[in-house]
Amino acid sequence: MAGWPILSLTTFLPLVGAASILAIRGDAATVARNARNIALWTTLATFLLSLLLWAGFDPNVTGYQFEERADWIPAFNISYHMGIDGISLFFVLLTTFVTPLCILASWERIQHRVKEFMIAFLVFEAAMTGIFCALDFLLFYLFYEAVLLPMFIIIGVWGGPQRVPAALRFFLYTMAGSVFMLIALLVFYFNFGTTDIPVLIAQGHTLSSSTQIWLWLALAASFVIKIPVWPVHTWLPDAYAEAPGGAAALLAGVLLKVGGYIFLRFSIPMLPIGSEVLAPLVYALAVIALIYVSGVTVMITLAYGDLKKWVAYATLAHMGFGYIGMFTMTTQGLQGAVIVMLSYGLISVALFCCVGMLEERANTRDIARFSGVVETMPVFAFAMMVFMLASLGVPGTSGFVGEFLVLVGAYQASSWLALFAGTILVLGCIYFLWMYRLVVFEKAERADSSGLKDLNWREVAIVVPLVLVILWIGIYPDSFIHETTATVGDLINHYQTALAQAGSVAVALH
């Protein structure tokens, strides 16, 4: 087993599925059915394959596992280098776990050009997995940008009524963020003559502090666009609201987490001085974004707005927690950040799928059109409640573990920070409970939701795994935290040593 390139297989297996879908011939109904089946089974197989990664992962080892390396552009000293550590392991698993669920969520929603949709979806999964496995900066960048192509097509072809501007905005904003990362990549390459991530991590701290700050800002450009910070936030609600069911879930559940992953993989280990100096900026932006996003969510609830936009903002609020946790540079904060991102990845997917189920039945996304759903759809109401309580961070769900750890870390960094971050939890309660009451309980004259059918087997198959994993993380988080301990410890060690060295150099210069 050891000799197998499991990472490459996991990454590229979806492409094999896409190629076989491309080969399907026959009448429209057959093609659609076969395309759906192939896509589902391919993604399930990919998930099983990625479980091998978890099984074979040695939590006590620092550094990278399942490494693969091959010459790619030898003239430029750039190689195909893959590998995972305790942090990326869970991002890979998150991707492979939710993709089949998202395909199930798109099962009936997508009725036209099914073949193309499934191909785009599988390509998206491959690129997404590649992002988290790449150990070469250029390779990472390639996967990172390659994600845009299928998502652009998915939003633009199968999206809602405003899909075209939403797709264009999504593409251009994201690209604008990532081209600065390209410049950072080039500066790294110029300084160290390689784009190999482990080498860059080992040597990055030797850069001068002004260079580190500029590079850090370049890397953060994508974060600013994704978190989102005014005035570059306008792409986000449109893209999420217009993306077809399963795709919005993937967008929010997985793609959004890449911003955090960039910090963990690049900014913090490679640019310790930059991270140290600019951490307050991250705190400020994260807190402002948290308040802004929560405010907008409350407004949408009050105005009986678009349910999908509501979910987009509601799930966004929690990314701020992840960012705060990372930059506290404490063991609890970092582990909390990983768990927060993992758990909100699952919760966003779950909430988007739930909204998709409502939309499929009632053909509307207006909060105002739903009421008393609990009468007609009790199973749905129960699942929705679990996801909502998890978002609120109720103990026993995945949300609690991450938020608790982050708050512990934030308190060590600054008690004010912990106070602000804690405030968001209260705001979250307002809009989550309010929305839940409006849609699920309140019996108003809004009659559109009478006669809705409860979940069918396909939908139960989406909801049950999500509920189980969310509870698993909440009740026995150690199976997840355990795997990340060594990596996080190593990251903090590296960070402190690098800072200390930089400090001693600064002292020696004086």
């Binding site: 003239a75 390639l142 390659a146 633009g156 081209v179 410049i183 080039l186």
Partner: protein, 482 residues
């Protein structure tokens, strides 16, 4: 007296010139009914010339008393030009036959102008440079006006001729100044003169500026770009394809050789000019294209933007910069030929259509064509992992290595703006359902071959980048060694 062996390095040029004459004779005797045959033979001659070029060892060899040089750089560039020209001849034939411009002169003129381009690339003397440039340009003027019965084509020809003559004048004026101040026209001796003087005389710098202006006309860099959109739009599409592909590559090659070889010592002086032109070309290329509705005009602005990126690499003035440019050119050539092959196939009931609205719904009616076009558009926008990204990547790399951070930032920002209009084509093809007018099925074997070839190259370049990378690296090294 030139000895016989000393003309051997020019074998490909001589072969191609003789083939052009033979094809001309064949055409004259057989008449227009032989156009198809002449086209095929022309493409074959261009490919044979490419093989002859490639069979050169890559060592630096002179001919014609040092006026003509063959080196790794020349071999790389000539190969690009020849492949581009051959591909255009192949895809243009079917179009020409259908659009009542089925005349054997078209391929012959393309071959003749290619001979001029090869002379330009190998020029090692101001005289040889001018001769090559004019051989190329004269054929191009005729090509632009090839559909002399239409107003737009004659307008394009006239415009190109007047502005081309002006730019040749500028170039000649600059060359005469340089001759006056250095006393030589030979590149190697100019280098020696510049090296011996402690500070470059102002006359040489002024002459160099005029030469750069003249050459900037040929590559359509802002502010010498005005002709490009009109000429691109007015010329018959196969000719536009040729304009966008081969002469651009040849003119960039010439500019590189002039700036690196004789004026390598004046890098600080020309860098300001090139930097300025890079910035304005990138910005104008990106912004100007947004409003365009004609696909050929749009691609003209796109190519202005591409020149901006090429100048970005040139501004670095380093071997890495030139290497980046060579990779960029190779990729650009393939994308351009592929894109124009699609544009050539866009016909409604036999009539060519050029409005971008006609791309609407193409993914339903012509799924494969839409797919390759989408590949080219994404690639031109520089989205990884497609070939266009690598072109930009190495150019930006050189800019960063030259500490041109501001320039690199402007470059990446304009590439985002440029992505908008390339995406617009993809949007039309994939997101808009109803076609304005139905597009005919294309059943031209040559076009299909070129489309598949270019599409595969664009999509899979990341998989096997080594041949082009190492070729570009050794070509750049040979330019700097000289």
């Amino acid at each position: 007296m030139a000895e016989i062996p000393s003309i051997l390095p020019a074998t490909p040029e001589i072969f191609l010139a003789c083939s052009a004459l033979a094809l001309l004779l064949l055409g004259v005797f057989k008449g227009d009914c032989a156009t198809r045959l002449v086209s095929h033979l022309a493409a074959a001659a261009l490919l044979v010339a490419a093989i002859l070029v490639l069979s050169h060892s890559g060592a630096r060899v002179f001919a014609f008393n040092g006026m003509f040089v063959v080196d790794g750089f020349g071999v790389f560039m000539k190969t690009l030009v020849l492949i581009g020209a051959a591909a255009v001849v192949m895809v243009g034939q079917g179009y020409a036959a259908q659009q009542r411009m089925n005349r054997f002169e078209l391929p012959v003129l393309i071959v003749l102008s290619t001979v001029g381009m090869m002379m330009m690339i190998s020029a090692n003397d101001l005289m040889a440079l001018y001769m090559g440039l004019e051989t190329q340009s004269l054929a191009l003027y005729v090509l632009a006006a090839f559909r002399r019965d239409t107003q737009t084509s004659t307008e394009a020809g006239l415009k190109y001729f007047v502005l081309g003559a002006l730019s040749s004048g500028l170039l000649l004026f600059g060359a005469s100044l340089i001759y006056g101040f250095t006393g030589t026209t030979n590149f190697d001796r100019i280098v020696a003169v510049l090296a011996s003087a402690p500070k470059a005389e102002i006359g040489i710098v002024v002459g160099m500026v005029f030469m750069i202006a003249g050459l900037a006309f040929k590559v359509a860099a802002v502010p010498f770009h005005m002709w490009a959109p009109d000429v691109y739009e007015g010329s018959p599409t196969p000719v536009t394809a040729f304009f966008a592909a081969a002469p651009k590559v040849a003119a960039v090659a010439l500019l590189l050789r002039v700036l690196i070889d004789p004026f390598g010592g004046l890098t600080d002086q020309w860098r300001q000019i090139i930097t300025f032109m890079a910035v304005v070309s990138m910005v104008l290329g990106a912004v100007g294209a947004i409003q365009q509705t004609n696909i050929k005009r749009l691609l003209a602005y796109g190519s202005i933007g591409h020149v901006g990126y090429i100048f970005l690499g040139l501004a670095a003035g380093s071997e890495q910069g030139v290497r980046g440019i060579l990779i960029y050119l190779a990729v650009y050539l393939v994308m351009t030929v592929g894109t124009f092959a699609v544009v050539l196939s866009m016909r409604h009931q036999g009539r060519p259509v050029e409005n971008i609205a006609h791309f609407a719904g193409l993914s339903r009616t012509h799924p494969m064509m839409a797919l390759v076009m989408a590949l080219f558009m994404f690639s031109m926008a520089g989205i990884p992992p497609l070939a266009g990204f690598f072109g930009k990547f190495y150019v930006f790399l050189a800019a960063i290595e030259g500490h041109l951070y501001g320039l690199a930032v402007i470059g990446v920002l304009t590439s985002v703006i440029a992505a908008f209009y390339y995406l617009r084509i993809v949007k039309l093809m994939y997101f808009d359902e109803t076609p304005v007018e139905s597009i005919d099925q294309q059943n031209d074997g040559a076009v299909t071959v070129v489309l598949v070839g270019c599409g595969v190259f664009t999509a899979l370049f990341f998989f096997f980048p080594v041949p082009i990378m190492s070729g570009a690296a050794s070509a750049a090294a040979s330019l700097f060694a000289g």
